[in-house]
Protein backbone atom coordinates (compact mmCIF):
# COMPACT_ATOMS: atom_id res chain seq x y z
CA UNK A 1 0.00 0.00 0.00
CA UNK A 2 1.00 3.62 -0.36
CA UNK A 3 1.84 5.65 2.74
CA UNK A 4 -0.78 8.07 4.07
CA UNK A 5 0.04 11.77 3.49
CA UNK A 6 2.32 13.56 5.94
CA UNK A 7 4.26 16.78 5.95
CA UNK A 8 8.02 16.57 5.82
CA UNK A 9 10.62 18.53 7.74
CA UNK A 10 14.29 18.10 6.92
CA UNK A 11 16.05 18.93 10.20
CA UNK A 12 19.29 20.89 10.08
CA UNK A 13 20.41 20.09 13.63
CA UNK A 14 19.17 18.43 16.83
CA UNK A 15 17.55 21.61 18.16
CA UNK A 16 15.69 22.06 14.88
CA UNK A 17 14.49 18.44 14.98
CA UNK A 18 13.27 18.78 18.58
CA UNK A 19 11.52 22.06 17.73
CA UNK A 20 9.80 20.40 14.75
CA UNK A 21 8.64 17.50 16.96
CA UNK A 22 7.32 20.05 19.47
CA UNK A 23 5.46 21.96 16.76
CA UNK A 24 3.86 18.71 15.57
CA UNK A 25 1.92 18.57 18.84
CA UNK A 26 2.44 14.87 19.49
CA UNK A 27 1.84 13.89 15.86
CA UNK A 28 5.50 13.96 14.78
CA UNK A 29 7.89 11.07 14.22
CA UNK A 30 11.62 11.01 13.65
CA UNK A 31 12.58 9.57 10.25
CA UNK A 32 16.08 8.07 10.41
CA UNK A 33 16.79 4.84 8.51
CA UNK A 34 13.07 4.26 8.00
CA UNK A 35 13.45 0.48 7.85
CA UNK A 36 10.81 -0.07 10.56
CA UNK A 37 8.86 3.19 10.31
CA UNK A 38 8.19 3.15 6.56
CA UNK A 39 6.66 -0.38 6.62
CA UNK A 40 4.38 0.82 9.45
CA UNK A 41 3.31 3.74 7.24
CA UNK A 42 2.90 1.54 4.16
CA UNK A 43 0.69 -0.85 6.14
CA UNK A 44 -1.07 2.21 7.59
CA UNK A 45 -0.43 1.04 11.13
CA UNK A 46 0.98 4.50 11.89
CA UNK A 47 -0.24 7.88 10.63
CA UNK A 48 2.08 10.61 11.89
CA UNK A 49 1.20 14.11 10.63
CA UNK A 50 4.83 15.17 10.39
CA UNK A 51 8.01 13.25 9.62
CA UNK A 52 11.16 14.92 10.89
CA UNK A 53 14.03 13.67 8.72
CA UNK A 54 17.27 13.66 10.74
CA UNK A 55 19.42 11.96 8.11
CA UNK A 56 21.24 15.20 7.28
CA UNK A 57 21.85 16.33 10.84
CA UNK A 58 25.65 16.57 11.09
CA UNK A 59 27.67 14.94 13.86
CA UNK A 60 25.41 11.97 14.61
CA UNK A 61 27.28 9.27 12.71
CA UNK A 62 30.50 8.95 14.71
CA UNK A 63 31.87 5.97 16.65
CA UNK A 64 34.52 6.36 19.34
CA UNK A 65 35.67 4.30 22.35
CA UNK A 66 36.45 6.18 25.57
CA UNK A 67 37.23 4.48 28.90
CA UNK A 68 35.90 1.13 27.79
CA UNK A 69 32.62 2.52 26.44
CA UNK A 70 31.63 2.76 22.78
CA UNK A 71 30.00 6.13 22.14
CA UNK A 72 27.95 5.92 18.96
CA UNK A 73 25.97 8.64 17.25
CA UNK A 74 22.26 8.08 16.69
CA UNK A 75 22.70 7.77 12.91
CA UNK A 76 25.31 5.00 12.93
CA UNK A 77 24.00 2.53 10.33
CA UNK A 78 23.89 -1.20 11.02
CA UNK A 79 26.47 -1.77 8.26
CA UNK A 80 28.88 0.56 10.05
CA UNK A 81 28.26 -1.12 13.40
CA UNK A 82 28.72 -4.56 11.81
CA UNK A 83 32.03 -3.50 10.28
CA UNK A 84 33.69 -1.93 13.34
CA UNK A 85 35.88 -3.91 15.74
CA UNK A 86 35.73 -1.75 18.89
CA UNK A 87 32.62 -3.53 20.16
CA UNK A 88 32.57 -7.08 18.75
CA UNK A 89 29.25 -8.00 20.41
CA UNK A 90 27.46 -5.06 18.76
CA UNK A 91 29.16 -5.91 15.46
CA UNK A 92 28.04 -9.54 15.60
CA UNK A 93 24.47 -8.60 16.57
CA UNK A 94 24.27 -6.03 13.74
CA UNK A 95 25.22 -8.71 11.20
CA UNK A 96 22.03 -10.59 12.13
CA UNK A 97 19.79 -7.64 11.20
CA UNK A 98 17.92 -8.03 7.93
CA UNK A 99 20.02 -7.87 4.78
CA UNK A 100 22.63 -5.53 3.31
CA UNK A 101 19.96 -3.29 1.76
CA UNK A 102 18.36 -2.95 5.22
CA UNK A 103 21.63 -2.57 7.15
CA UNK A 104 22.77 0.17 4.76
CA UNK A 105 19.90 2.41 5.92
CA UNK A 106 18.77 1.23 9.37
CA UNK A 107 20.24 3.07 12.36
CA UNK A 108 21.31 2.11 15.87
CA UNK A 109 19.15 4.72 17.62
CA UNK A 110 16.22 3.96 15.32
CA UNK A 111 16.27 0.30 16.34
CA UNK A 112 16.44 1.24 20.04
CA UNK A 113 13.64 3.84 19.78
CA UNK A 114 11.47 1.35 17.87
CA UNK A 115 11.89 -1.00 20.86
CA UNK A 116 11.00 -4.24 19.13
CA UNK A 117 11.53 -6.93 21.79
CA UNK A 118 12.81 -9.41 19.21
CA UNK A 119 15.30 -6.99 17.65
CA UNK A 120 19.03 -7.52 18.16
CA UNK A 121 20.32 -4.11 19.28
CA UNK A 122 17.87 -3.57 22.18
CA UNK A 123 19.10 -6.91 23.61
CA UNK A 124 22.72 -5.79 23.20
CA UNK A 125 22.04 -2.42 24.86
CA UNK A 126 20.57 -4.20 27.86
CA UNK A 127 23.22 -6.93 28.01
CA UNK A 128 25.91 -4.23 28.12
CA UNK A 129 23.92 -2.10 30.58
CA UNK A 130 24.20 0.74 28.09
CA UNK A 131 22.39 4.04 27.91
CA UNK A 132 20.98 6.50 25.40
CA UNK A 133 21.34 10.27 25.29
CA UNK A 134 18.08 12.00 24.60
CA UNK A 135 17.32 15.56 23.52
CA UNK A 136 13.94 17.14 24.17
CA UNK A 137 12.31 20.51 24.68
CA UNK A 138 13.51 20.61 28.31
CA UNK A 139 17.13 19.85 27.46
CA UNK A 140 19.02 16.58 27.44
CA UNK A 141 18.86 13.49 29.62
CA UNK A 142 20.49 10.10 29.86
CA UNK A 143 18.33 7.00 30.01
CA UNK A 144 19.66 3.59 31.05
CA UNK A 145 18.69 0.52 29.06
CA UNK A 146 16.54 -0.70 31.96
CA UNK A 147 14.49 2.54 31.82
CA UNK A 148 14.27 2.91 28.04
CA UNK A 149 12.22 -0.17 27.17
CA UNK A 150 8.69 -0.18 28.55
CA UNK A 151 6.84 -2.76 26.45
CA UNK A 152 6.60 -4.19 22.95
CA UNK A 153 7.30 -1.27 20.56
CA UNK A 154 7.05 1.09 23.52
CA UNK A 155 9.87 3.16 24.92
CA UNK A 156 9.90 5.77 27.65
CA UNK A 157 10.81 8.49 25.14
CA UNK A 158 8.36 11.38 25.01
CA UNK A 159 6.82 12.25 21.63
CA UNK A 160 8.95 15.38 21.55
CA UNK A 161 12.27 13.65 22.29
CA UNK A 162 14.89 12.07 20.10
CA UNK A 163 17.89 9.85 20.82
CA UNK A 164 21.13 11.61 19.88
CA UNK A 165 23.72 9.09 21.00
CA UNK A 166 24.24 5.67 22.52
CA UNK A 167 26.70 4.42 25.15
CA UNK A 168 27.64 0.77 24.93
CA UNK A 169 30.16 -0.45 27.51
CA UNK A 170 32.56 -2.90 25.85
CA UNK A 171 32.36 -6.30 27.57
CA UNK A 172 35.47 -8.30 28.42
CA UNK A 173 33.91 -11.35 26.77
CA UNK A 174 30.71 -11.83 24.81
CA UNK A 175 28.43 -14.20 22.95
CA UNK A 176 25.42 -13.81 20.68
CA UNK A 177 23.05 -16.47 19.37
CA UNK A 178 19.82 -16.19 17.48
CA UNK A 179 17.22 -18.51 16.02
CA UNK A 180 14.98 -17.35 13.18
CA UNK A 181 13.25 -19.24 10.39
CA UNK A 182 15.58 -17.59 7.86
CA UNK A 183 18.64 -15.42 8.37
CA UNK A 184 17.46 -11.82 8.30
CA UNK A 185 14.03 -12.55 9.74
CA UNK A 186 13.14 -11.28 13.16
CA UNK A 187 14.44 -13.58 15.86
CA UNK A 188 12.09 -16.07 17.43
CA UNK A 189 14.59 -16.10 20.29
CA UNK A 190 17.93 -14.33 20.53
CA UNK A 191 20.42 -14.22 23.38
CA UNK A 192 23.12 -11.62 24.03
CA UNK A 193 25.64 -12.48 26.76
CA UNK A 194 28.27 -10.11 28.13
CA UNK A 195 30.88 -10.49 30.85
CA UNK A 196 32.29 -7.46 32.63
CA UNK A 197 35.00 -8.59 35.04
CA UNK A 198 33.35 -11.49 36.88
CA UNK A 199 29.84 -10.16 36.31
CA UNK A 200 27.76 -11.92 33.69
CA UNK A 201 24.67 -10.43 32.02
CA UNK A 202 22.42 -12.54 29.82
CA UNK A 203 19.54 -10.95 27.89
CA UNK A 204 16.92 -12.91 25.97
CA UNK A 205 15.01 -11.31 23.08
CA UNK A 206 11.67 -12.50 21.75
CA UNK A 207 10.30 -13.88 25.02
CA UNK A 208 8.66 -10.80 26.58
CA UNK A 209 7.55 -7.25 25.79
CA UNK A 210 11.07 -5.99 26.47
CA UNK A 211 14.46 -7.70 26.10
CA UNK A 212 14.52 -9.92 29.19
CA UNK A 213 17.47 -9.60 31.57
CA UNK A 214 17.87 -13.01 33.14
CA UNK A 215 17.63 -12.83 36.92
CA UNK A 216 21.23 -12.93 38.11
CA UNK A 217 20.99 -15.75 40.70
CA UNK A 218 23.63 -18.25 39.65
CA UNK A 219 24.53 -16.05 36.69
CA UNK A 220 25.79 -13.18 38.80
CA UNK A 221 29.40 -14.20 38.84
CA UNK A 222 31.49 -16.43 36.68
CA UNK A 223 34.78 -16.40 38.54
CA UNK A 224 34.99 -20.16 38.20
CA UNK A 225 35.15 -20.00 34.41
CA UNK A 226 32.58 -21.56 32.15
CA UNK A 227 32.88 -25.32 31.85
CA UNK A 228 30.40 -27.20 29.66
CA UNK A 229 28.58 -28.34 32.82
CA UNK A 230 28.31 -24.80 34.12
CA UNK A 231 27.02 -23.55 30.74
CA UNK A 232 24.32 -26.24 30.82
CA UNK A 233 23.27 -25.25 34.35
CA UNK A 234 23.12 -21.55 33.47
CA UNK A 235 21.20 -22.22 30.23
CA UNK A 236 18.61 -24.26 32.15
CA UNK A 237 18.35 -21.44 34.70
CA UNK A 238 17.73 -18.92 31.90
CA UNK A 239 14.98 -21.11 30.44
CA UNK A 240 13.36 -21.31 33.89
CA UNK A 241 13.54 -17.53 34.25
CA UNK A 242 11.57 -16.64 31.08
CA UNK A 243 7.80 -16.70 30.70
CA UNK A 244 7.34 -16.42 26.93
CA UNK A 245 4.02 -15.98 25.11
CA UNK A 246 2.68 -18.38 22.49
CA UNK A 247 2.00 -17.07 19.01
CA UNK A 248 1.94 -18.40 15.46
CA UNK A 249 5.75 -18.44 15.33
CA UNK A 250 6.07 -20.77 18.28
CA UNK A 251 4.53 -21.96 21.54
CA UNK A 252 5.71 -20.84 24.96
CA UNK A 253 7.36 -24.23 25.49
CA UNK A 254 9.18 -23.99 22.18
CA UNK A 255 10.48 -20.53 23.05
CA UNK A 256 11.60 -21.75 26.46
CA UNK A 257 13.49 -24.63 24.83
CA UNK A 258 15.06 -22.21 22.37
CA UNK A 259 16.05 -19.94 25.25
CA UNK A 260 17.99 -22.82 26.80
CA UNK A 261 19.69 -23.70 23.51
CA UNK A 262 20.52 -20.12 22.53
CA UNK A 263 21.80 -19.30 26.02
CA UNK A 264 24.06 -22.35 25.90
CA UNK A 265 25.35 -21.27 22.48
CA UNK A 266 25.93 -17.68 23.53
CA UNK A 267 27.74 -18.70 26.75
CA UNK A 268 29.87 -21.26 24.92
CA UNK A 269 30.83 -18.49 22.52
CA UNK A 270 31.46 -16.12 25.41
CA UNK A 271 33.88 -18.61 26.96
CA UNK A 272 36.02 -18.35 23.82
CA UNK A 273 35.37 -14.72 22.76
CA UNK A 274 37.40 -12.14 24.58
CA UNK A 275 37.25 -8.59 23.31
CA UNK A 276 40.78 -7.72 22.18
CA UNK A 277 42.46 -5.01 24.24
CA UNK A 278 41.74 -1.62 22.73
CA UNK A 279 44.79 -0.28 20.93
Amino acid sequence: MKCPPFSYHRATDVADAVAALGAADGEGKILAGGQSLVPLLALRLARPAVLVDVNRVPGLDGLVVRDGVLHAGALVRHLHLAGQDHHPLAAEAARWIGHTAIRSRGTLAGSLAHADPSAELPAVLRACDGAVHVAGPGGTRRLGADELFVGALQSSLAETEMITGVELPVPDAWGFAEFARRHGDFAIVSVAAARFGDRLRVVVGGVAGVPHLVDPGDLATCDGGLSADRVAILAAAAADDVDPPSDLHGSAGYRRALTEQMTARALTQLAGHRTPEAA
Binding site: C3, S7, Y8, R10, H99, T100, I102
Partner: protein, 156 residues
Protein backbone atom coordinates in the same frame (compact mmCIF):
# COMPACT_ATOMS: atom_id res chain seq x y z
CA UNK B 1 8.80 19.47 -2.97
CA UNK B 2 11.41 19.99 -5.69
CA UNK B 3 14.29 17.53 -5.66
CA UNK B 4 17.22 16.53 -7.86
CA UNK B 5 17.95 12.87 -8.51
CA UNK B 6 20.94 11.63 -10.48
CA UNK B 7 19.84 8.31 -11.93
CA UNK B 8 22.37 6.21 -13.84
CA UNK B 9 24.43 9.35 -14.34
CA UNK B 10 21.61 11.55 -15.62
CA UNK B 11 20.34 14.48 -13.56
CA UNK B 12 16.58 14.84 -13.15
CA UNK B 13 14.60 17.59 -11.46
CA UNK B 14 11.29 16.36 -10.12
CA UNK B 15 8.49 17.69 -7.99
CA UNK B 16 7.27 15.06 -5.52
CA UNK B 17 4.86 14.76 -2.66
CA UNK B 18 6.77 13.86 0.57
CA UNK B 19 5.09 10.44 0.73
CA UNK B 20 6.33 9.51 -2.75
CA UNK B 21 8.73 6.59 -2.32
CA UNK B 22 11.95 6.54 -4.31
CA UNK B 23 10.58 3.49 -6.15
CA UNK B 24 7.42 5.35 -7.22
CA UNK B 25 9.41 8.46 -8.19
CA UNK B 26 11.63 6.33 -10.43
CA UNK B 27 8.69 4.53 -11.99
CA UNK B 28 5.95 7.17 -12.12
CA UNK B 29 7.84 10.45 -12.37
CA UNK B 30 10.90 9.38 -14.38
CA UNK B 31 9.31 6.53 -16.35
CA UNK B 32 12.05 4.12 -15.26
CA UNK B 33 9.83 1.10 -14.79
CA UNK B 34 12.74 -1.35 -14.61
CA UNK B 35 12.65 -1.04 -10.81
CA UNK B 36 9.86 -3.38 -9.75
CA UNK B 37 7.62 -3.26 -6.72
CA UNK B 38 6.51 -6.43 -4.98
CA UNK B 39 5.51 -6.14 -1.36
CA UNK B 40 6.05 -2.37 -0.90
CA UNK B 41 7.12 -2.86 2.70
CA UNK B 42 10.71 -3.95 2.48
CA UNK B 43 10.42 -7.72 2.57
CA UNK B 44 10.71 -8.95 -1.03
CA UNK B 45 13.71 -6.99 -2.32
CA UNK B 46 12.31 -6.50 -5.86
CA UNK B 47 12.81 -2.71 -5.67
CA UNK B 48 16.46 -2.86 -4.54
CA UNK B 49 18.52 -0.06 -6.13
CA UNK B 50 21.94 1.39 -5.34
CA UNK B 51 21.87 4.75 -3.53
CA UNK B 52 25.21 6.53 -3.20
CA UNK B 53 27.02 3.24 -3.63
CA UNK B 54 24.99 1.08 -1.25
CA UNK B 55 21.99 -1.15 -1.91
CA UNK B 56 18.70 0.16 -0.54
CA UNK B 57 15.05 -0.78 -0.70
CA UNK B 58 13.53 1.91 -2.93
CA UNK B 59 10.14 1.29 -1.28
CA UNK B 60 11.52 2.12 2.19
CA UNK B 61 13.03 5.43 1.22
CA UNK B 62 11.14 8.57 0.32
CA UNK B 63 12.24 10.35 -2.82
CA UNK B 64 12.77 13.53 -0.77
CA UNK B 65 15.41 11.64 1.24
CA UNK B 66 17.28 10.86 -1.98
CA UNK B 67 17.44 14.55 -2.95
CA UNK B 68 20.94 15.07 -4.36
CA UNK B 69 21.80 11.35 -4.28
CA UNK B 70 23.24 9.21 -7.07
CA UNK B 71 20.89 6.31 -7.79
CA UNK B 72 21.71 3.28 -9.92
CA UNK B 73 18.88 1.18 -11.30
CA UNK B 74 18.65 -1.89 -13.51
CA UNK B 75 18.37 0.38 -16.56
CA UNK B 76 21.98 1.38 -15.95
CA UNK B 77 23.42 -2.15 -16.12
CA UNK B 78 23.50 -2.75 -19.87
CA UNK B 79 25.89 -0.73 -22.05
CA UNK B 80 24.53 2.13 -24.13
CA UNK B 81 24.68 0.01 -27.29
CA UNK B 82 22.48 -2.59 -25.60
CA UNK B 83 25.24 -5.05 -24.74
CA UNK B 84 24.04 -6.84 -21.63
CA UNK B 85 25.92 -6.71 -18.35
CA UNK B 86 27.71 -10.01 -17.57
CA UNK B 87 25.20 -10.64 -14.78
CA UNK B 88 22.29 -10.20 -17.19
CA UNK B 89 23.98 -12.60 -19.64
CA UNK B 90 24.53 -15.12 -16.85
CA UNK B 91 20.92 -14.86 -15.57
CA UNK B 92 19.74 -15.55 -19.11
CA UNK B 93 22.09 -18.52 -19.62
CA UNK B 94 21.46 -20.10 -16.19
CA UNK B 95 17.67 -19.70 -16.16
CA UNK B 96 18.03 -17.27 -13.28
CA UNK B 97 14.57 -15.87 -13.96
CA UNK B 98 11.15 -16.96 -15.06
CA UNK B 99 8.48 -14.29 -14.65
CA UNK B 100 11.04 -11.53 -14.11
CA UNK B 101 9.28 -9.72 -11.28
CA UNK B 102 12.17 -10.16 -8.84
CA UNK B 103 14.95 -9.89 -11.43
CA UNK B 104 15.79 -6.15 -11.21
CA UNK B 105 16.29 -6.44 -7.44
CA UNK B 106 18.28 -9.67 -7.86
CA UNK B 107 20.53 -8.03 -10.45
CA UNK B 108 21.19 -4.89 -8.41
CA UNK B 109 21.90 -6.91 -5.24
CA UNK B 110 24.26 -9.19 -7.18
CA UNK B 111 25.91 -6.24 -8.95
CA UNK B 112 26.72 -4.62 -5.61
CA UNK B 113 28.06 -7.92 -4.25
CA UNK B 114 30.40 -8.40 -7.21
CA UNK B 115 31.49 -4.76 -7.12
CA UNK B 116 32.54 -5.09 -3.49
CA UNK B 117 33.67 -8.75 -3.39
CA UNK B 118 35.03 -9.96 -6.72
CA UNK B 119 35.18 -13.66 -5.81
CA UNK B 120 32.39 -14.63 -3.40
CA UNK B 121 31.88 -18.35 -2.81
CA UNK B 122 28.51 -20.03 -3.20
CA UNK B 123 27.62 -19.75 0.49
CA UNK B 124 28.43 -16.05 0.46
CA UNK B 125 26.32 -15.53 -2.67
CA UNK B 126 23.39 -17.35 -1.06
CA UNK B 127 23.70 -15.27 2.11
CA UNK B 128 23.83 -11.99 0.22
CA UNK B 129 20.94 -12.87 -2.13
CA UNK B 130 18.77 -14.04 0.79
CA UNK B 131 17.09 -10.64 1.04
CA UNK B 132 15.50 -11.05 -2.39
CA UNK B 133 12.53 -13.33 -2.82
CA UNK B 134 11.82 -15.26 -6.03
CA UNK B 135 8.68 -17.35 -6.33
CA UNK B 136 9.49 -19.03 -9.66
CA UNK B 137 12.99 -20.43 -9.84
CA UNK B 138 13.82 -22.10 -6.55
CA UNK B 139 16.98 -19.92 -6.48
CA UNK B 140 19.43 -22.52 -7.86
CA UNK B 141 19.60 -20.84 -11.26
CA UNK B 142 19.98 -17.42 -9.63
CA UNK B 143 22.91 -18.54 -7.48
CA UNK B 144 24.42 -20.34 -10.50
CA UNK B 145 24.17 -17.11 -12.50
CA UNK B 146 25.87 -14.97 -9.89
CA UNK B 147 28.59 -17.61 -9.47
CA UNK B 148 29.12 -17.76 -13.22
CA UNK B 149 29.26 -13.97 -13.56
CA UNK B 150 31.78 -13.83 -10.70
CA UNK B 151 33.92 -16.55 -12.30
CA UNK B 152 33.80 -14.76 -15.66
CA UNK B 153 35.26 -11.56 -14.25
CA UNK B 154 38.77 -10.89 -15.43
CA UNK B 155 38.33 -13.08 -18.52
CA UNK B 156 39.23 -11.33 -21.77
Amino acid sequence: MKIVLTVNGERHRVEVEPRRTLADALREDLGLTGTHLGCEHGVCGACTVIVDGLPARACLMFAVQADGAAVETVEGLAAEDGTLHPLQEAFSRCHGLQCGACTPGMLMTAAHLLDTEPAPDRARIRAEMAGNICRCTGYVGIVDAVEEAAAGRGDP
